[in-house]
């Protein structure tokens, strides 16, 4: 973090992006093989750059709930990766002040040969939850996941719903200051969904800042204070939830159906 941005005063933004850009090499995203890349080395032209995000300036204050909208390929997920500090920008600067977590449905599981219990420990280790803390919370996590005796079965016998439930049960023990949600988070059957939604809301209530990616305007209207509208990596609009979403819905030809299934 630079001192320059820190001198901003008392109302220091929790997240600050200055002229942020991320690019992908187009030819490198395609299949690259060693023989080709060795042959091509001499006359390799300038790599074709695809800017997933560019010239993005953003300041988010304490207590805001940010919705991120935009068509596919707008750079929403790239932005989430950057906010959760998994990806670093290629140009510009990003400053995040606080412990940040991205809540994703880790439904793939981690090690399918191991039991659910062992996977809880492994997942917790990935998330950086201390060993002692996870041992303490282990029974709670297992109870919340409703897996019962399945918890000691190898994870490869799990259904995708069971994996998602376990993943959520672990991830939701985190206590981040800044929460990133990429796509609407819903796991399991109706009763588990209700339970997880309650837990998510409790988690969100403790957060200083939340960023949510969703295609559902209604969902965002019910939660967000501000909305960022992205298109082809550029900021189209940023502001209070109402006006931005109205403009976005107009541009997209009416609000998207709220079915929580779109990706």
């Amino acid at each position: 973090m630079s001192d320059r941005t820190r001198q901003a005063g008392a109302a220091e933004p929790v997240i600050e992006l200055r002229d942020v850009g991320v690019y992908f090499h187009l030819h490198k995203r395609a299949k690259v093989n060693l023989r080709q890349s060795l042959l091509r080395r001499q006359w390799r032209s300038r790599p074709e750059l695809l800017w997933a995000l560019r010239h993005l300036d953003l300041e988010l204050q304490e207590g805001q709930v940010l919705g991120i909208v935009g068509p596919n390929g707008a750079g929403k997920s790239t932005l989430c990766l950057m906010l959760s500090q998994i990806l670093q920008p290629d140009e510009g600067e990003i400053v995040v002040r606080g412990k940040v977590s991205q809540l994703v449905s880790l439904s793939t599981g981690l090690n399918h040969d191991l039991s659910g219990r062992a996977n809880v420990r492994l997942y917790a280790a990935y998330l950086g939850i201390p060993r002692a803390e996870i041992e303490e919370k282990l029974e709670d996590i297992i109870a919340f996941s409703e897996l019962g005796e399945f918890i000691d079965e190898p994870m490869r016998h799990y259904s995708s719903g069971m994996r998602a439930r376990l993943g959520f049960s672990v991830a939701s023990t985190l206590d981040p200051e800044i929460l990133i949600l990429d796509e609407v988070f819903s796991v399991g059957d109706a009763s588990f969904r209700r339970k997880s939604r309650e837990r998510l809301e409790a988690m969100m209530a403790r957060c200083r800042l939340i960023a949510i990616v969703s295609h559902s305007s209604d969902f965002l209207r019910s939660l967000c204070t501000h909305v960022l509208w992205l298109e082809k990596g550029r900021k189209v609009q940023f502001g209070e939830v109402g006006p931005v979403l109205d403009a976005y819905d107009d541009a997209m030809g009416g609000p998207a159906p709220d079915d929580h299934l779109d990706t």
Binding site: F24, L110, L114
Partner: protein, 289 residues
């Protein structure tokens, strides 16, 4: 507008970058990953961890059968099973680390893209769990050496140092290869050839004394290069490593000082190279997964 490129390897958030400090900070994850790798491979096979003992035993017997039984070679290295296993075990550790590194980052894509952690932990845990198998193999090797009546000598004290350098060597190569493997898709095919070349060019099936005998001073009145071939052979750190294990376990003698120096130098240098290579690509790798 001109892009302000960030200096390579420099990152905004120190928590997720691959550095020694972060690895030490996330040692819980490193340990958990290493152990769960071992645990899952034990649960994969019906025999569990007993398999880790049977596996080196079987390979040892196969090579014994082929080289001594069929080809009728290896008399100067009797008992050949002990001799071959001294090289096979470290080679297996090394090549296992290499082949798992190729697709490692690619196969953990979902995880890397959703959880912030220093990705260097992935190849390191592979090397460490491979070392776990190695230790089981070492038990087989030491028992075999004892059964065949190899003397227990103070030369065994060389083992800890050899194992440390072996880990450094394997980790260095695994780090570099895992970073390259994320950028280049067909690396594993090339790696197969590289492994085979390494296997036959290192004194695995034969001893360095045979190279000495056939190409060493006085053996051939040839050009200078041929005379120095045994020395060229020993430039390969694996050759020194295997010879070191044979000195410690098979012959009960001490590896020459210059070989120790070279092995230490190359292991540290290769580790440093792998570490730097991985750091260079570190977070940018995500974009290529």
């Amino acid at each position: 507008m001109r892009a302000i490129d960030r200096p390579e390897g420099e990152a905004e958030n120190p928590r997720v970058t691959s550095s020694f400090a972060n690895i030490v900070m996330r040692r819980d994850l490193l340990r958990e990953l290493t152990l769960s790798e071992l645990r899952s491979s034990a649960s994969e096979s019906r025999l569990g961890w007993v398999w880790w003992l049977i596996d080196p035993l079987v390979t040892m017997l196969i090579y014994w059968f082929v080289v001594v039984g069929i080809l009728g070679r290896g008399q100067q290295w009797a008992p050949y099973p002990v001799f071959i296993l001294c090289a096979l075990l470290p080679f297996k550790h090394f090549s296992g680390a290499l082949s798992s590194a190729c697709k490692l980052l690619r196969s953990r894509e979902g995880l890397i893209k959703s959880v912030p952690f220093p990705t260097m932990i992935l190849p390191l845990s592979q090397v460490l769990s491979g070392f776990g198998y190695f230790l089981f193999g070492l038990m087989v090797l030491l028992s075999a050496a004892w059964i065949w009546g190899r003397p227990i000598t103070p030369a065994l004290a060389q083992l800890p140092a050899l194992m440390t350098l072996q880990i450094l060597l394997a980790a260095g190569v695994a780090l570099a290869v895992s970073a390259w493997g994320a950028l280049v898709r067909d690396l594993s095919g090339f790696m197969g050839h590289a492994q085979r070349i390494l296997f036959y060019l290192s004194p695995t099936l034969y001893g360095i004394d045979l190279v000495q005998e056939r190409f060493g001073k006085g053996a051939l009145a040839g050009s200078g290069l041929v005379t120095y071939l045994p020395d060229l052979f020993m430039l390969n750190p694996l050759a020194v490593l295997f010879t070191g294990y044979r000195h410690a376990i098979f012959y009960g003698t001490w590896l020459e000082g210059r070989h120790w120096a070279w092995l230490t130098f190359t292991s540290v240098a290769i580790f440093a190279f792998g570490y730097r290579t991985f750091q260079r690509y570190d977070r940018r790798v995500i974009k290529f997964l």
